[in-house]
């Protein structure tokens, strides 16, 4: 099988798995324990945390480990909202965020917060001017994703953070789940106040993630109990998961520049071959992230394409994994205004470290056969 669904998840790197097993075998003690074994776990956990904070450019005590992207986003948004509600109750986000953000926002709306959902243009981009215009004195959070999971559109995060910080006291949360390991992600690179990452998107393990923030940010905890993770996320810290995350993150960080070059080449080749078919519309904008290419075939269901490609050992998905089992049209595809005849035929091709040049050749060849067959009918 040739796997082109890396935005849904990736295969854990072998050395990450080895790390996970080894830590479970040798450093299984509770890092909060006073004894020697606990101290070892604690030191190891601290080292993992330091490795993560170093790569993102913040302090070591400004990172907590979570169970993944959804929990991280949930914690970031609820934790900030709870902390800052006395200052204001206005939040800005976009209409194409991940469900973990959008659903958190809906919860907050029920609690009396006011949320603005910014529309996106046909490229899937929000407007910096509109963000500026919507900022108010009582705006406490702006939450915008770096790279959209369904289209690959890249929001102008650096410019957004400048505008947000110059014009308000709001804190800027950036969901960087789809971008880490593909594009440079750090506090200096993006200017965000809070970043969230998920391990399994870059060859780490499912059930691992982090929230990181800059010095001036603080949160109200959501899960309380024994006071682990600086009191922000209680519960015995899974050291093996944390270390596996730190390892996967380092590997992805080191490979990022050369992988990005590859993704750009592959993206360009697929775009070129797709543009030859008049019934194929490329939905990902030209300047979108190179590792995600979303296209649509006229009057064909996405599911049919997935099955046809699968029969030829190629794995792709219809839009995002989170929404692909639902029959309704994804909120992102709705948001960018795709014409009716193309709405249903959306597939997403997403590259990762498991792909190589020959797989792209094969994909192009097989895709052409499928399209010609479908046309013939």
């Amino acid at each position: 099988m040739y796997y082109f669904d890396h935005s849904a998840t990736t295969k854990p790197d072998k050395v990450v798995l080895e790390t996970f097993v080894k830590v479970n075998e040798e450093f299984f003690a509770n890092p909060a324990s006073l004894h020697v074994m606990g101290v070892d776990s604690h030191v190891l956990l601290s080292r993992a945390r330091k490795q993560v904070s170093d790569m993102l450019g913040t302090e070591m005590n400004k990172v907590i480990f979570t169970s993944g992207g959804t929990e991280s986003n949930h914690f970031a948004i609820h934790g900030l909202a709870l902390k800052l509600h006395a200052r204001g109750k206005h939040i800005i986000t976009s209409s194409i965020e991940h469900p973990s953000v959008l659903e958190s926002m809906k919860q907050l709306e029920k609690q009396g917060f006011e949320v603005d959902y910014l529309a996106v243009d046909e490229k899937g981009l929000i407007s910096v001017e509109e963000v500026k215009a919507r900022l108010r004195k009582d705006t406490i959070i702006v939450s915008i994703m770096h790279i959209n999971n369904e289209l690959g559109s890249r929001q102008p995060i650096k410019r957004l953070s400048e505008v947000i910080h110059q014009n308000s006291r709001a804190l800027f949360h950036v969901d960087a789940v789809q971008s880490f390991g593909k594009y440079p992600v750090s506090f200096t690179e993006l200017g965000a106040d809070v970043l969230t990452l998920s391990g399994h998107k870059f060859n780490g393990l499912k059930g691992t993630g982090i929230v990181a923030w800059q010095n001036h940010v603080s949160f109200e905890p959501i899960i309380v109990g024994g006071g682990q993770e600086f009191g922000l996320r209680s519960g015995t810290v899974p050291v093996a998961q944390a270390v596996a995350f730190a390892k996967a993150m380092r590997l992805a960080f080191e490979k990022q520049p050369q992988m990005l070059e590859k993704y750009k080449q592959w993206n360009e080749r697929l775009r070129q071959s797709m543009s030859e078919y008049k019934e194929v519309q490329i939905l990902s904008p030209e300047d979108a992230a190179a590792h995600i290419l979303t296209v649509s075939v006229k009057e064909i269901k996405g599911e049919v394409l997935v099955n046809a490609l699968q029969a030829r050992d190629i794995i792709v998905s219809t839009s995002s994994a989170c929404s692909s089992k639902q029959t309704k049209i994804s909120h992102v595809i709705q948001a960018i205004g795709v014409s009716d005849s193309y709405k249903k035929g959306v597939i997403r091709i997403s590259f990762g470290t498991s792909n190589h040049d020959q797989q792209i050749d094969y994909f192009i060849e097989q895709f052409s056969i499928i399209i010609n067959q479908l046309k013939g009918e």
Binding site: T19, K22, V23, L34, H35, V36, V39, H42, V43, L44, R47, A48, Q51, N61, V243, A246, K247, R250
Partner: protein, 400 residues
């Protein structure tokens, strides 16, 4: 814009007369030591200033970020370079000024033109650069005497060099220029700050810690090791001596009346510290004592404790308020470690009401029934020695 080199001003060092050479050499070595993890760079030492020339921007950024921690530097300035093209000079000047705080600031341009074939005269270039900067930034005003921003432009043969920003350094003297002393490191807030103050005056540190297992845990030792590690970040290694102290403490509990046991404990600690000091060739002992802070830090207590040795005991915090000490601890990043809640050997045997005014004769009298010397020698010889920063290799490295 490209940063080309960093100019370092010594401050107090330049006044050191004939010893100046030793001091600047020490500073150069300390800089090399502190940045051993970075790619090699060139250091040029002059009479009253020093230049660092890294090969790449990344090293440059690291240097700018970390130089404020190095003692013996009054201030430093990143120097940019550009070609002899006028347009290039203009743009570089604007970029430099752009990076500074300009609100209500005064400004001037100083030009030095050592490369004579350059197309403009000194005054001409001064006006050229000045007028472009003023046109771009309406908010700044020209002032020739004591301007807030002095943009230095130097035309050399290979390029034009420019700087305006002056970043304050840590001040003080280069570590090692004032010999070595032994710091008594308890794990509390004060002792690391005392160590820092002496580092700043050029003193190299060894540290001593009293460890009483099982009354104090592995974590409390871990904490002291972390503190020693923090202190080693100021540009010199720190050797930590961990003294097994349980037996002596238990003996004191048995032999000495409770209300003066604290004084005796301190006297034994000082005695051990003095032996270690002698062995390591340190000249003085440093403590974090602050007058009147606790029972052992009254003048009477200090007299009774200090009577055990004639070695100079340096107490840089003696006149500091607790709040001031906490502020420094936060600045030097030891506070968070110090407030970890583990028991240390001072808190565990604390009597309910220790004497605040112990009499030296009485303490000596109680101690005379039992000789602690043998136990002390044993504790000194069985001490564990750990050097910070630790060597890279460790059991976790292949996991991360």
């Amino acid at each position: 814009m490209q940063w080309k080199e960093i100019l370092i001003r010594y401050g107090e060092l330049s006044t050191k007369g004939r010893n100046r050479h030793a001091f600047t050499g020490r500073l150069r070595d300390n800089i090399r030591y502190a940045f051993a993890d970075l790619p090699k760079f060139k250091i040029i030492t002059e009479r009253d200033r020093m230049f660092i020339q890294p090969d790449d921007q990344e090293t440059m950024d690291q240097l700018i970020k970390r130089l404020p921690n190095i003692f013996g530097i009054q201030s430093f300035s990143p120097v940019a370079s550009c070609s002899h093209e006028l347009e290039d000079i203009k743009q570089t000047a604007i970029k430099i000024i752009e990076s500074l705080d300009r609100i209500d600031k005064t400004f001037k341009v100083t030009v030095k033109r050592s490369y004579k074939p350059f197309e403009m005269e000194t005054n001409e270039l001064q006006q050229f650069v000045g007028s472009h900067v003023l046109r771009t930034f309406q908010e700044i005003q020209v002032q020739m005497k004591k301007p807030d921003i002095n943009l230095h432009v130097e035309v050399r043969k290979d390029a034009v060099y420019m700087m305006a920003q002056v970043i304050p350094g840590a001040g003080g003297l280069p570590i090692g220029s004032n010999g070595k002393s032994l710091l008594m490191l308890s794990g509390g807030i004060d002792s690391p700050v005392a160590g820092y103050q002496m580092l700043k005056r050029g003193v190299r540190l060894d540290a001593i810690h009293f460890y009483s297992p099982p009354y104090t845990s592995e974590l409390s030792k871990e904490k002291v090791m972390d503190l020693a590690e923090k202190l080693s970040r100021f540009g010199a290694s720190v050797k930590l001596h961990v003294i097994p102290f349980t037996a002596i403490q238990q003996e004191i509990q048995r032999q000495i009346p409770e209300n003066v046991s604290m004084t005796t404990t301190r006297r034994m600690m000082l005695k051990i510290a003095d032996l270690v000091r002698e062995e390591t060739g340190a000249l003085a002992i440093i403590t974090g004592e602050s007058l009147g802070q606790v029972a052992s830090q009254t003048l009477e207590s200090l007299t009774a404790i200090n009577a055990i040795t004639s070695t100079p005991v340096l107490r840089p915090l003696i006149a500091f308020d607790k709040q001031d000490i906490i502020e420094i601890a936060q600045e030097i990043d030891t506070y968070e470690v110090s407030i970890r809640p583990y028991e240390d050997c001072c808190t565990i045997f604390t009597p309910a009401s220790p004497k605040t005014k112990p009499k030296l004769e009485k303490v000596e009298f109680y101690e005379s029934f039992k000789s602690f010397d043998e136990m002390i020698d044993e504790a000194v010889s069985e001490r564990e020695i750990i050097v910070f920063p630790k060597k890279k290799q460790d059991k976790f490295s292949d996991l991360l």
